[in-house]
Structure formats: C-alpha cells, structure tokens
C-alpha cells in the first residue's frame, strides 16, 4: 500500500485536527468539509489510508486496500469540486465496498478460495452509481465465504476481538466502527447488514427489496438479497443510500420506483407519527434484560417526543418465518452454486461446502411451501401496517449481544432453548421475507460493555421515514460517538 502526498498544501482543517479527529467525524460531517473547501478529498483519503494502516493489524477489516485508485479518484474529485462541479454529498468521500460486490478490474473473491484471482470486467450497478456520485472507493472489505455466514474470516470486532464480529458484512461493520471507513456497503440476505451494525454499534440499512440493484453482486438467495449502507450516523446512511439507489433494467429484481431525497425530511421529528410495537415475538423471553430495557427506553423516548406508540397484535406466521427463510436461502443458494460445488468442492471452506450440499437435498415442494408461507406473512404484515396506519414498527435488532466464537453454536447459557447464532437473526430475517426496509440504530451498551441497537421496519420504499424517525432519536444521544478501544 502506498500513500502519495497530496497535490496541494495541507488544508487548515487537516493541520488543526489531525488524522484521529478527522476519522472520528461522520460521513455527513466530512461531506460538509469537502463542500466548503475546508479539506480536500486527497487529504481525506490519505487520512483514511493511514487509519487503515493503523487498525488493520488488529481488526482485519479489508480484503484489499485500493490506495492508488482511491488517490487518483480523490484528485479527480478535488479538481471537479474546485471547478464548481460538485456532484453531491458523496463527492470526494472515501467508502469501502464488500468483497462480494463487483468492481471492474479489481479482485472480487467473496471470501472464498473458489473465487481466488477472479477479476470482474464490470462494476456492480451500486458501485457504478456511487462512482458517478463521486465517492472514492478506498478498499474491498472482508465477508464470510459467499456471504453465507458460516465460516470464520480473519476479521475481529474492536469491541471484543474474542467475540463474533457480525456477518456476513463483517469487514464493512468493523471498518466503520474502527474509524477506518466513513461508510461501507454491505449485503443482507437474513440480517447481514443489520447484525454487524448492531454488534459494532453503528447504523445499518437493509433498503426495500429492489431499491438498490443487486446487479453485479454475488447472490446468496435471489429473492432475499439486498445491498445497503453501514455508517456511524443516520444522516450518513441516508447520504450513502442516495448515491446507490435507482432502477437497473439489467436487474429483474430492481424496482422502477422514484428515488426521493432521503435527507429532505430527516429533521422533521416524530410528533404525530405512529410507531407499532409487537411484543409476543419481538420481545419474547429470548431478549436479554439489558436489551429489553434499552429498547423500552427508546420506545418511551419516542412517546415523549410526540409519537404515538401503537400496540400491534402478533402475526402467527412469525413462528414459521425462520424456517421459511432457511429453506429459501439453502435452496436458492445451492442452485447458484450448482456448477461451482461440482468443480471446486475442495476449495470451499468445509462449513460452506456442507451448507451448499445441504441445499441440494431439500425437496422442491419444501421450497415452494416456504414461498407460500412468505406470501401469507407479507400479506399479514401489510395488513398490520394498513389497519393500524403505521409509519414504522420497532423492536430490538438482536435479542442478545454478540458472544465468543466458541459459544455461537452451543445452546444459550440462559436456557432459552436456542443457540446464539439462531438468536442473532431471529429479529432480522423477517424484513428479508417481506422486502420492507429495515434500519438498525445504536441505543446503548449492555452490562458486558457490548453495543445494543434497535430496529425500525418501514413501508416499502419509505426509507426516508426510517431515517427521520432514527435521526430524531440519534440527535438526543451520543451512542454514535462512542468508539472501541481498538480504533484510530
């Protein structure tokens, strides 16, 4: 990795604050500095590269750092901005991209030996749009093998390196919390953006299905896959979504829907909004006391801010959604891997290989039944929203904090009757089934010192409402300013 010198003298901001303070800033803050000329994109990119050098030995968030390309893009951004051609809030801001997302001419190995040496010859649509918005791609972040979430990559969360760091957008979550990235892209099939967001104390959005094209993204499960941003603040998340949302005719799952200004209503508060809370499933006995208390505190705060908290009756189909998701993921995923698993079985991690093989053995009728259950669940969720006139629903992003690696697949020690890995996606995959947007936001720390977050579920294509509600909470707290011991 090389760090070339800036093409112009260091700015006043850079001289005054230094690398640590700069990398502590949110994506929205550095965007403002770039806009008013207080700092250059090259300076920002150089600071980001130094931050990566400093943190990588401990956290291993990046699969590859793209120093030369990033500095070249930053120089171009500086020239464009200086010439009055600023393209928007992302112009000149360095971001990371999960390694299962294609970039033209850049290795995309998806965390797998199967893909070793693979270089795509085109940009994923989300990357193409982000580049067009002027974003500087600083590196590719680690992910679980093919985003399945079952093997053990080298990435460690700086909140506790002995614990599971979240997956499968593992490097993106860790880079953002470690201050080696202002924002990063993740993918989410059952919670792979929101789980690392929760575990690393940051903001993660799974947009509406079809809002962000998955063209050029290695699929896990076509009908459940989403691409979305991870950032330290809600506003930064909205800015990133703005840069990557849009219709892609080459992608049959892409939605031809208008893309609104996601920050236009972010400051409007929650007064008069209706937030639904379902308690039988999302506040079941598997939710730990500290997480329950933290999220109840969020609910009470929204009530105090003028939102109407609406008790929503449970949806019976919820009890079957986890089994439905697993059936769909395994079946669709193994269909994608059908050729690869026969040619390169020995190159898969044994855990991923077994998962892929398992999917081929599931009867087709089981897959169809799971999609039938999905129809019922989607209809039931829509009915809840429409009947109760809800703007959003709210629940904990995860019922537990993260746990040591060795405890992931053994029964929970509190006797709940499930494993931590089962608990971790208990509250997230539901939104993948319905396709609704879901946003995870930090809301404190557990007794063990690990981050806690809550999740907002919205109506299709109403991400702006989730940003508005989340921003109203974030403005009253400093959870997003907390940083782990291992960080820049």
């Amino acid at each position: 990795m090389t760090c070339k010198r800036s093409f112009r003298p260091l700015s006043l901001v850079w001289e005054r604050v230094g690398m640590t303070e700069l990398m502590d800033m949110s994506l929205a803050q550095v965007s403002d500095l770039l806009a008013d000329g207080s700092i250059s994109s090259v300076e920002l990119t150089e600071a980001n590269l130094r931050a990566i050098e400093q943190t990588e030995p401990a956290v291993h968030a990046y699969a590859r750092v793209l120093a030369d390309g990033a500095l070249e893009a930053a120089r171009q951004a500086d020239q464009d901005i200086a010439a009055g051609k600023r393209r928007g809030a992302l112009h000149g801001v360095p971001i990371g991209i999960k390694d299962n997302i294609y970039m033209q001419g850049i290795l995309a190995e998806s965390g797998s030996r199967v893909m070793k040496g693979f270089i795509p010859d085109y940009d994923a649509t989300c990357v193409k749009l982000l580049k067009a918005a002027g974003a500087v791609i600083i590196g590719k972040t680690h992910c679980h093998e093919f985003a399945y979430g079952v093997n053990k990559p080298p990435t460690r969360t700086p909140w506790n390196p002995d614990c599971y760091p979240g997956g499968s957008s593992i490097g993106s979550g860790v880079a953002v919390t470690s201050r080696s990235s202002f924002g990063a892209l993740g993918t989410d099939t059952g919670g792979s953006i929101r789980v690392p967001a929760f575990i690393n104390g940051i903001v993660g959005l799974k947009p509406t299905f079809g809002r962000v094209s998955v063209y050029g993204v290695v699929p896990v499960s076509w009908s459940l896959d989403h691409v979305g941003p991870l950032t330290r603040t809600v506003k930064g998340n909205a800015i990133m979504l703005q840069g990557m949302a849009g219709y892609e005719p080459l992608d049959p799952t892409s939605a031809n829907q208008p893309v609104p200004d996601f920050t236009a209503s972010i400051d409007q508060g929650v007064k008069g909004l209706r937030i639904g809370v379902e308690r039988d499933y999302f506040f079941y006995n598997g939710v730990t006391d500290d997480i329950r208390a933290a999220v109840e505190g969020v609910i009470e705060e929204y009530r105090a801010q003028g939102a109407e908290i609406v008790d929503v009756p449970t949806i019976p189909e919820l009890e079957a959604t986890q089994d439905a998701v697993f059936t769909i993921v395994l079946s669709e995923g193994s269909t994608y891997h059908r050729k690869l698993i026969r040619e390169y079985a020995d190159k898969y991690d044994p855990t991923t290989r077994a998962t892929v093989q398992l999917g081929e053995l599931i009867p087709a009728t089981n897959y169809i039944a799971a999609q039938q259950l999905r129809t019922r669940f989607k209809n039931a969720m829509k009915k809840r929203f429409m009947t109760h006139n809800l703007d959003a629903m709210l629940w904990p992003t995860m019922p537990i904090t993260t746990v040591p690696f060795d405890d992931m697949n053994v029964p929970r020690k509190d006797g709940v009757g499930e494993t931590p890995v089962g608990s971790m996606c208990h509250h997230t995959f539901n939104a993948n089934l319905t396709g609704q947007p879901a946003l995870s936001v930090p809301c404190g720390f557990a007794e063990n010192g690990l981050p806690i977050g809550f999740q907002l579920l919205g109506k299709p294509f109403d991400e702006a409402m989730l940003f508005r509600i989340a921003h109203a909470y974030e403005q009253n707290h400093e959870w997003h300013l907390q940083k782990p011991h291992i960080a820049v």
């Binding site: 979430g149 079957a320 290989r353 089981n366 429409m386 499930e418 494993t419």
Partner: protein, 72 residues
C-alpha cells in the same frame, strides 16, 4: 452446521443421503454424509412448522418484488 432452527430426533440412514448425493452428482464422502444427515432431518422437519398454516390456495412468492408503495 449452523443453519436451521427446528430440531428433530427423527433418524435417517446416512447411507441413503450419500447415495442420493452421488445420484445428484455431488461428491459427498461417507463422513460428510453422516455429518449432513442431522441437518437435513432438521430441514425436512421444518416443514411441519411451515405447513401448520393453511397454504392450500396460497400462490408462492415467486415474483421477486414487493411491488408499489402500499399507500399508493
């Protein structure tokens, strides 16, 4: 195998799985078949949870779109 929620005590002969896998063109060893068998049993048992609901007349969600905004 970390995927799966439903647990079942049902038994299945791993040799059957190994033979089926071979028939499908998967190069599964006996050891792999034995390790995979409980996971497959659990996956099949998961259908009991899903089919508690009346799905007889339900069209599966095979159109991969959520459609328009709900309030349009």
């Amino acid at each position: 195998m970390s995927y799966g929620r439903t647990k079942s005590e049902d038994e299945l002969d791993p040799a059957v799985i190994e033979a089926l896998a071979q028939q499908l063109g998967l190069n599964l060893s006996s050891e792999e078949a034995a390790a995979l068998t409980p996971a497959l049993v659990n996956q099949i048992a998961a259908m009991e949870v899903i089919t508690r609901f009346d799905l007889q007349e339900v069209v599966p969600a095979t159109v991969f779109s959520v459609g328009a905004r709900w309030d349009d």
